[in-house]
């Protein structure tokens, strides 16, 4: 009788039917911990993509307003672009997107939207206007969908500059010659007006850069209305 009791201590349903072996509690605790941590990790990863995208959209609203305010004011002297301040507007009709491009490519600048590499050409200039943007849904997420021939329109205070995509390339982050005035020959002087967009590649990672080259095909004054590419 005693040995029988000792062998089956929890057959007695009256006192502790909720008793569990500690090993099962341990397993359950570990499982719950893993589940919780996994959910936290997933949520943070989602925030890193969509939360930042949302932040950039909110910043873009302010930057756009500042850009419109600047352009509405009478034109002053042609000052150098101020880091962090909007410089131009970029339209990509195929992606149904437009952004106000700020000057600078630091992380703070890129939190406001696409950033213009300092010391590269400005819109319409002979040279290479290089713009970097995050690979997140509100910025350059679908940049790989651009095909050769797709228009990219840069808008300044007084003019529209219509570029057309010529090619794209995946390079290592150290391939800084893609933003040189002539990417094929980094030491050559600028000879044509180009636009280069860079973003991270592959999506959600950053060990490569996706580079999209475009060349200026047409310039149009603001007084002549919107270019047909944007209609």
């Amino acid at each position: 009788m005693v040995t029988d009791q000792a062998a089956r201590p929890y057959q007695d349903e009256d006192d502790d039917d909720s008793w569990e072996p500690p090993s099962r509690r341990l397993s359950r605790g570990a499982g719950e911990l893993m589940l919780t941590l996994g959910l936290v990790a997933l949520l943070f990863a989602a925030y890193a993509v969509y939360g930042k995208a949302w932040q950039i959209e909110a910043e873009q609203a302010q930057v756009e307003a500042r850009l419109d305010h600047t352009w509405a004011a009478p034109p002053g002297e042609a000052a150098a672009p101020v880091p962090g301040q909007p410089l131009a507007r970029l339209h990509i009709p195929r992606l149904h997107r437009k952004w106000a491009v700020v000057e600078g490519v630091t992380q703070a600048d890129l939190r406001k939207g696409p950033g213009h590499y300092p010391r590269t050409a400005r819109p319409g200039e002979i040279g290479n206007m290089a713009v970097a943007g995050h690979r997140i849904p509100s910025v350059f997420w679908d940049l790989d969908r651009l095909k050769p021939g797709d228009p990219i329109v840069a808008e300044t205070r007084s003019a529209w500059f219509v570029y057309r995509v010529t090619s794209h390339r995946e390079v290592l982050p150290t391939a800084v010659e893609v933003i040189a005035p002539t990417p094929e020959r980094p030491d050559a002087p600028p000879e044509r007006a180009m636009l280069t967009l860079t973003t991270c590649n592959p999506k959600l990672q950053n060990w490569q850069r996706l580079v999209v080259f475009a060349e200026l095909v047409r310039a149009q004054a603001k007084t002549d209305g919107r270019p047909p590419e944007l209609k």
Binding site: G31, L33, A48, H134, I136, L172, I179, T198
Partner: protein, 453 residues
């Protein structure tokens, strides 16, 4: 019985924790963007100007073994094996093929170039041998005497840094990588004369006499002359096709050359090393590209002598490796080449393969020459000194190109437009969620199965 069940459940709990931790670590390690594995090179070419490779004044140029001449005055080698690290942009490729430059009574044979790209710097290294009396390797005579007399062997085969290149950044398109570059400087032929200790008289080295004008040091004048001529050369282009999947062996190849490994046996153990040991080559002919001696006629005695020479020069025994290198013929794979016969060589064994003697030095020297010190220190002894090295295990020097400002840690980079942690973090979270749900499920089901609820 219950206690057994409890113990099983406890073990299950710990196993789940361990599994979760392992999955987490694995997810972090497998998807960390900072450590993408290197890729094997499946195909590729190296196109380089003839002037960058050769002595001037060659009357005609013969290619064989897969190399081909280009209309621009260059020669194109096809890749045999190699690796490319997409993170750093470094690459290391072995090519196959042989180029002969025949100038008068002197023939310079350059075979099996090896390219190492380290950032913007690259070095082409190849086996190089000079044959004094050309045994008529003319195009009209495709079958020269396969067994010339050993007196034609004026210099044992040595691996030399032929050309230094300044490369532009690689262009990655899908699985292909392309570099273009210019020959920055050429290094003179190696200084050390292994025949000096191998019983040959020093007067039988007209290569060094011709190049260095009786000056024992590898003077810079041939280099500067070559550099001047290089201006007319077509640019060097390198095209590689990578394997789709990252392979740990490729990683091994790249990392192996970066770490000093003073023992030849250590570097010979890595089968992906460009300087696969002679014993490896004789035993396995799976990848002829890697074999320093692709001849299927490698006899057991040949492999025995080759491995003996490897161990001999690994132990820096001068006399042993000298005899081994003297026994090697300068042509690695074909019978129709004007190969001096090793029959009269001091080595007691016949070695039909150039690399069986060169492999200890080949595997030895790159392991230290590309270290980050950027010094010209030769691997084993003072071969950089003006006097020729007495040790045959250091038959050539290594010239490490000075970093022109690009090789530092603070390279300019394109703007960082993404977070590398997102994909690993999402993968980790997914693993944790799945593992946690699995653990919960198992813990509950165990209770049901044992009837304990």
């Amino acid at each position: 019985m219950m206690r057994v069940a409890h113990k099983r459940l406890a073990a299950l709990g710990f196993a789940q924790i361990a599994l979760g931790a392992a999955l987490a670590m694995g997810a972090l390690a497998a998807t960390a963007p900072d450590a993408p594995a290197a890729r094997h090179v499946t195909a590729g070419t190296l196109t380089i100007g003839l002037r960058a490779l050769a002595d001037p004044g060659a009357e005609h140029v013969l290619v064989e073994g897969g190399a081909e001449l280009t209309p621009e005055g260059g020669v194109r080698f096809h890749a045999a094996d190699g690796a490319f690290d997409p993170h750093t942009g470094d690459a290391e490729v072995d090519y196959e093929g042989t180029v002969r430059f025949v100038a008068g009574d002197k023939t310079v044979v350059i075979s099996q170039p090896h390219l190492r790209i380290d950032g913007r710097n690259a070095v082409v290294r190849a086996d190089r041998v000079t044959v004094a009396a050309s045994p008529s390797p003319s195009p009209a005579d495709p079958e020269p005497d396969p067994s010339p007399t050993p007196s034609l062997l004026t210099s044992p085969p040595v691996a030399a840094d032929l050309v230094r290149l300044t490369m532009e950044a690689p262009q990655v398109t899908g699985l292909t990588v392309r570099w273009t570059g210019t020959a920055a400087a050429a290094t003179p032929s190696p200084s050390a004369d292994p025949t000096a200790t191998s019983g040959h008289s020093p007067s039988s080295t007209p290569e060094h006499a011709a190049e260095n004008e009786a000056e024992p040091t590898p003077s810079a004048s041939p280099a500067s002359l070559l550099t001047a001529r290089l201006a007319q050369d077509p640019p060097v282009s390198v095209l590689l096709t990578l394997s789709a999947a990252a392979q740990p062996n490729a990683q091994l190849l790249l990392s192996e050359s970066g770490t000093p490994s003073p023992s030849a046996s250590t570097s010979a153990s890595g089968s992906t090393s460009p300087s696969a040991s002679a014993s490896t080559s004789a035993s396995s002919s799976a990848s002829p590209s890697l074999l320093p001696c692709p001849s299927p006629s490698a006899s057991p005695s040949a492999s025995a002598s080759a491995s003996a020479s490897a161990s001999a020069s690994a132990s820096a025994s001068a006399s042993a490796s000298a005899s081994a290198s003297a026994s090697a013929s300068p042509n690695e794979d074909d019978d129709e080449s004007p190969s001096p016969s090793p029959s009269a060589s001091p080595s007691p064994s016949f070695s039909p393969c150039i690399s069986s003697s060169a492999s200890p030095s080949r595997s030895h020297t790159p392991s230290t020459s590309y270290s980050n010190t950027n010094t010209n220190t030769p691997p084993a002894s003072g071969g950089n000194s003006p006097t020729p090295s007495k040790s045959p295990s250091t038959v050539y020097e290594t010239y490490t190109a000075p970093v022109p400002g690009g090789g530092g840690g603070d390279d300019p980079e394109l703007a960082k437009t993404g977070d590398g942690f997102v994909a690993p973090l999402a993968m980790l979270g997914l693993f944790l969620v799945i593992g946690g749900a699995f653990t919960l499920r198992v813990a509950r089901r165990g209770g049901y199965a044992l009837g304990e609820l």
